[in-house]
């Protein structure tokens, strides 16, 4: 879905979403375009803000519709607006064109180009001011910062620093195995920090770089956990699609956001090796929650594939609770009631 062209997007220098309007009168086409823009935002972070065409900085329109030609002329004269043509072909001097037949991919590619062009202009206008530059931190990095305050991490697994200049996330070499590193890259890609390079470096280089970086010693565990645990539509990150999983350790629930069902899943997978359907059936927790839980533990590096020594949970077996479920419910009710206050 993510094309090579949109992959290069960096949201450096952009602090606020760019207002974009769709001035297309054909209801179906307009809705489709708006949907594509929302998808773009989902993939790349909130880059666009859908607004009425009159308030927008970028306007998608069709010269083939009534009034289209007039709009194009005034937009080209007034260089505050970036007009983007949505049509079968482009007969004008307008540099931005979405091929109607190209589907959402064509639209995303063009929007990625428009974004880069706006970005470049902004960059130029602020480049002269050194102060401006140093304050202009990638919103993604800010996001990492806000999500990774916790000092005590479950496993000291993902300590990083960010080289803002080269837009690199640097990780000390022995910290990650290659599978985890691949996952890390994939996660960075999915959340839209295309050209930030995730690079493994030696310990000494790491120490040097860390000392120079303004953003260092971040632990990404919480960040990844929150992202994965809240993503109910995700498919299993572990591409091996092993038949049975178990947990090597408990997730650190005093520091990680969770619901009671995640705690039950931890208790279950710590005790038994099981496949997703069995875990879901025996605990009564929906399969998509089991998947998001396994994804989150996978990113922490505490989920393991069961071997023949694991105690497997078979389809025939049943859980034997050590207290009636009503007791759990009553106590939980009070705990969480209290939590709100």
């Amino acid at each position: 879905m993510v094309t090579s062209s949109t992959e290069e997007i960096s949201s450096t220098m952009v602090r606020q979403p760019i207002p974009i309007g769709v001035r297309i009168f054909d209801e179906i086409k307009r809705k489709r375009l708006e949907q594509t823009i929302r998808m773009f935002n989902k993939l790349k972070g909130d880059i666009w803000q859908l607004t009425p065409a009159g308030d927008a900085q970028v306007v998608i329109f069709s010269p083939e519709e009534a009034g289209g030609e007039v709009f194009l002329k005034s937009a080209l004269d007034n260089n505050k607006i970036h007009p983007v043509i949505y049509a079968k072909k482009n007969n004008s001097t307008c540099p931005w064109f979405i091929d109607q037949a190209g589907g959402s991919l064509a639209c995303m590619n063009t929007l990625a180009d428009v974004f880069r062009s706006i970005n470049k202009k902004k960059h130029k206008s602020t480049e002269s001011s050194a102060e401006n530059k140093s304050n202009d931190i990638n919103p993604f990095i800010n996001r990492i910062k806000s999500l990774t305050r916790s000092q005590i991490v479950y496993k000291n697994l993902l300590s990083i620093y960010v080289n803002v200049d080269s837009e690199e996330v640097c990780i000390e070499k022995p910290q990650l195995n290659s599978i985890a590193l691949d996952k890390l890259r994939k996660v960075f890609e999915t959340i839209g920090i295309g050209n930030i390079e995730v690079r493994e470096i030696s310990s000494s280089e790491f120490e040097d770089g860390k000392a120079k970086s303004s953003i260092a010693d971040l632990s990404l565990s919480n960040f990844f956990w929150e992202m994965a645990i809240n993503d109910k539509q995700a498919s299993l990150f572990d591409e091996t699609k092993a038949s049975k999983y178990k947990l090597e350790r408990w997730p650190n629930f005093t520091r990680l956001q969770h619901k009671y069902e995640h705690v039950v899943l931890a208790a279950f997978f710590r005790r038994f090796a099981a496949d997703i359907d069995t875990a879901s059936a025996k605990t009564g927790i929906p399969a998509e929650v089991v998947v998001s839980f396994l994804n989150a533990t996978h990113l922490l590096g505490i989920e393991v594939i069961a071997d023949e020594n694991s105690i497997s949970f078979t389809k025939e077996a049943n859980l034997t609770p050590k207290a009636p479920k009503t007791v759990m419910q009553k106590v939980l009710g009070t705990l969480f009631k209290e939590k709100i206050h």
């Binding site: 629930f253 039950v264 208790a267 050590k322 759990m328 106590v331 209290e338 939590k339």
Partner: protein
């Protein structure tokens, strides 16, 4: 039906009294006395018999929350307090000399209760350590070696959230059996 209860036990100064206070909706009944012995450098008071708190769980029903004394010389109370408990919460004061050794004292003394019900562990006073994550690794490794599937969390007994997580995971352990 016997009253539902959970028991907080563990090392001296680990925060058992504090945890019972965090959960209880009534003023905690304490048997703290001024410390004169091994804990005197650590804190002013120590529990000699028990702490007792309560949470209302549904119409008229309550969950009793007990704290045991930490010191071994009051160990006769441990068994008495644990009878018929839903499960045991063991707190370990990481700032003591050999916290893993401490942990073993409680695991062994509460063995029968843990087998019949379940247990969860909280490591406290980690804020005093230089590298808390490193400190936690000791416990993870120990649990691995022992083949324990019980949870062990970094905990600050002064934080209601942390104490809640201990109870929450105790319930989850009971549910899984």
């Amino acid at each position: 039906m016997a009253q539902l209860k959970i028991v907080f036990t563990g090392t001296v100064g680990a925060g058992k009294t504090q945890a019972v206070e965090a959960l209880s909706e009534i003023p905690v009944l304490k048997t703290d006395v001024q410390a004169t012995d091994e804990v005197v450098d650590l804190k002013d008071s120590t529990t000699i018999a028990m702490d007792y708190g309560e949470m209302a769980i549904s119409d008229g029903e309550t969950l009793a929350v007990y704290g045991t004394p930490g010191q071994k010389r009051f160990a006769y109370m441990w068994d008495i307090l644990s009878r018929n408990a839903l499960g045991i919460v063991i707190l370990v004061n990481n700032s003591r000399k050999d916290p893993i050794e401490d942990l073993c004292v409680y695991v062994n003394n509460f063995k029968q209760h843990i087998e019949n019900t379940t247990a969860v562990f909280g490591v406290t006073h980690l804020d005093k350590a230089k590298n808390p994550a490193e400190e936690m690794n000791k416990y993870y490794t120990f649990f691995e070696q022992q083949g324990y599937h019980y949870p062990v969390f970094p905990v600050d007994a002064r934080k209601r959230n942390d104490v809640n997580v201990l109870v929450e995971s105790l319930l989850a352990m009971l549910e899984v059996g």
